[in-house]
Amino acid sequence: MNFEWTDEQQAFREKLRTFLAAELPDNWESIAHHGPGSAEITAFSRQFCGRLAEAGMLFPHWPVAMGGQGLDAWYQTILAEEMWAAGEPRGAQYMNVNWIGPTLMKYGSQEQKKTLLPPIVAGNAIWCQGFSEPNSGSDLASLRTRAVLDAGEYVINGQKIWTSYAGLADNCFLLTRTSDDRKRGITILIVPMDTPGITVRQIPSIIGEGDIHEVFFDDVIVPESARFGDEGQAWEIISYSLRNERLGIPRYHLARCALDRAVGLLKTNGGWKGEAVKIEAARAAALTETARNACYAIVDKRVKELPIGPEASSARYNVVMAERAVSEFVVEYLPQALIDGEPYLKMHHQRGIVAGIASGAAEIQLNIIATEVLELPREPR
């Protein structure tokens, strides 16, 4: 085994850090704590991602045939770590390079590729993901937003909720029901967010502005060509696309950076004395590092093109533990930092609450571990 980065990987990380140091404005942390879906970060991301693209670092992990450099998942991890630790200046566009772009390439029609990929590649495209509904959260396959094909057009009616970035998105990657067959009755439509009949209402949230919304669809009409893949193919497509997204955000890294920042502050304000504070800091570090290693074990498999199994759920739950431990450490030993003056810790604290809730609740991860890793007999339904 070897836990070291290669010289090339280290150089890539340094290049990213140099880029970030040059491109982020002096007041960046004050902007970043508004949240990745905020108007401030969204506007900033449209310029920032463009420059990142020019520097060849927006999607270096995409295959060469897609315009990338064909770098492996370790580079994607380094890219994500550095961006996320800096407060994610890519805003919502991290999603484009992680899975929307690659999914368009794999499943999109020629027309969809031609129109939808160029803005992503240019670093100027905001997407939202129309998945959860008021009665379909963890049980996503029960979704009810209906799309009816009529004379070459789909008429969409229903409601989505918790939709990140919806207020400022250009397009929605929308899951709709086209038949009653639970999973095989779900179809993806790509819907421009300025289509008549769409109403977006922002939900005030702890995470920051622009991060969660309700989206209403009232007789929204899109052409049949907006369908992505075949009718009923949605479950197959999103299972493929989101397999890698389970670990898309390297939260362990921001958590560790926040912990290091907190210890640094405690050292300057006189709080780093006595044993209790040091013991608690180390306990939090033990969890950020177990989470990091558990995630790296999965990246290692991805690089080797080995199948990723339920161990991804185990790694994700470990990340939740780490996020909570660091947040609790700051709450206990540096509460003032969350009230004033320390946007970085505030940013971490606000975003940390998402870890156990978004992209599949922590309890769902525990269910998957119980059934698929430990192979316990299934619960009765």
């Binding site: 085994m1 070897n2 836990f3 070291e4 980065w5 370790w74 290091d260 210890v263 050292k267 780093w272 044993e275 040091k278 013991i279 608690e280 800091a281 180390a282 306990r283 570090a285 033990a286 969890l287 590092e289 177990t290 989470a291 290693n293 558990a294 790296y296 074990a297 990246v299 290692d300 080797k304 161990e311 185990s314 739950y317 470990n318 533990m321 309890e363 991860q365 525990l366 269910n367 571990i369 119980a370 890793v373 430990l374 192979e375 316990l376 007999p377 299934r378 619960e379 009765p380």
Partner: protein, 307 residues
């Protein structure tokens, strides 16, 4: 980064599994607090499994793997100190090895007996002596901790101890890696035994494993156990004092979280000596206090990471 096992490592672990097959389960009707086997111990030593750390292509990471794998057996084997600390001192030191720090006199020590090599860390100095009846009081009763243990009665005079030109910090780092490796294996085996039981035991007409109250706590135990394995391996590869202290800390934290749960899930069966669960969990309990316990390992980690 390369996080897969090498072919050599896979072969060594396979060889251990083959050798240890007769020891993979508890002898029928055995109701010991601790289970040991001189024959197993001899076979492991003769097979060179405890000497892999010194082999260039294998190193301490393979030693940690060996310790982790052996800890999964219901039989307690003195492997961690021999495989990870002994190579730093003298590969010929007679086994078993007992690791102690200042303040150990009057306390029970794992694997202590006349003839054992005691490695003593005091004020940054590393020394050793061969235990004899002057130093050792056999435990009056069988120890509850599932290790053979005896009380250290006295230390020999300084002049009777052999001193090593090795830093105590280096020994501590290897000790912590050994502790984490052993705890990882114990947790993995205890988790597996608990999973088997709750999958078979039926109440209310269905396996008790189908109740979410157990499933989620067992799943958390899996996350902690997986974390302990990876922390151990990282520390064994880097030999970094901070990584080693974090690995030991996490192992002790995790052990504390899981041991009572595992017994709890076995119900009354978890109170018996007929089910072997205690052979893993009570070793884990012994390891919880090693190297000063969580607090001391956390302080060592904080010092190494943040100064």
């Amino acid at each position: 980064m390369e996080l897969a096992l090498s072919d050599d490592q896979i072969q060594i672990l396979d060889a251990i599994d083959t050798l240890a097959k007769p020891y993979a389960s508890v002898p029928i009707h055995d109701i010991s607090f601790a289970l040991t086997s001189e024959e197993l111990d001899r076979e492991l030593a003769e097979g060179g499994f405890l000497d892999v750390a010194a082999m260039e292509e294998l190193g301490p990471e393979t030693a940690a793997l060996v310790v982790e794998r052996l800890a999964r057996l219901p039989f307690a084997v003195e492997a961690a100190a021999s495989a990870l600390v002994r190579p730093l001192l003298d590969p010929e030191l007679p086994r078993p090895l007992c690791l102690i720090q200042d303040g150990a006199v009057g306390r029970a020590v794992r694997f202590l007996k006349p003839g054992a090599t005691v490695v003593y860390l005091c004020d940054g100095v590393v020394c050793s002596f061969t235990a004899n009846t002057d130093h050792v009081v056999e435990a009056q009763d069988e120890s509850i901790f599932a290790y053979p243990m005896a009380v250290l009665k006295a230390l020999p005079s300084e002049i009777e101890m052999r001193k090593y030109n090795v830093s105590a910090d280096e020994v501590l780092t290897q000790w912590r890696i050994g502790l984490a490796a052993e705890a990882s294996g114990l947790m993995a085996a205890a988790l597996a035994a608990t999973v088997t039981y709750v999958s078979e035991r039926k109440q209310f007409g269905r396996p008790i494993a189908t109740f979410q109250a157990l499933r989620h706590r067992l799943a958390e135990a899996q996350v902690l156990t997986n974390g302990a394995y990876w922390m151990t391996m990282k520390a064994a590869v880097t030999r970094d004092p901070g990584d080693a202290a974090l690995a030991a800390l996490h192992a002790q934290e995790a052990a504390r979280r899981v041991t009572y749960d595992f017994h709890q899930f076995l119900g009354a069966m978890g109170m018996t000596l007929e089910h072997p669960l205690h052979l893993w969990t009570y070793r884990l309990k012994a390891l919880m206090s090693e190297l000063g316990g969580r607090g001391a390992n956390a302080l060592a980690a904080a010092e190494a990471i943040w100064g």
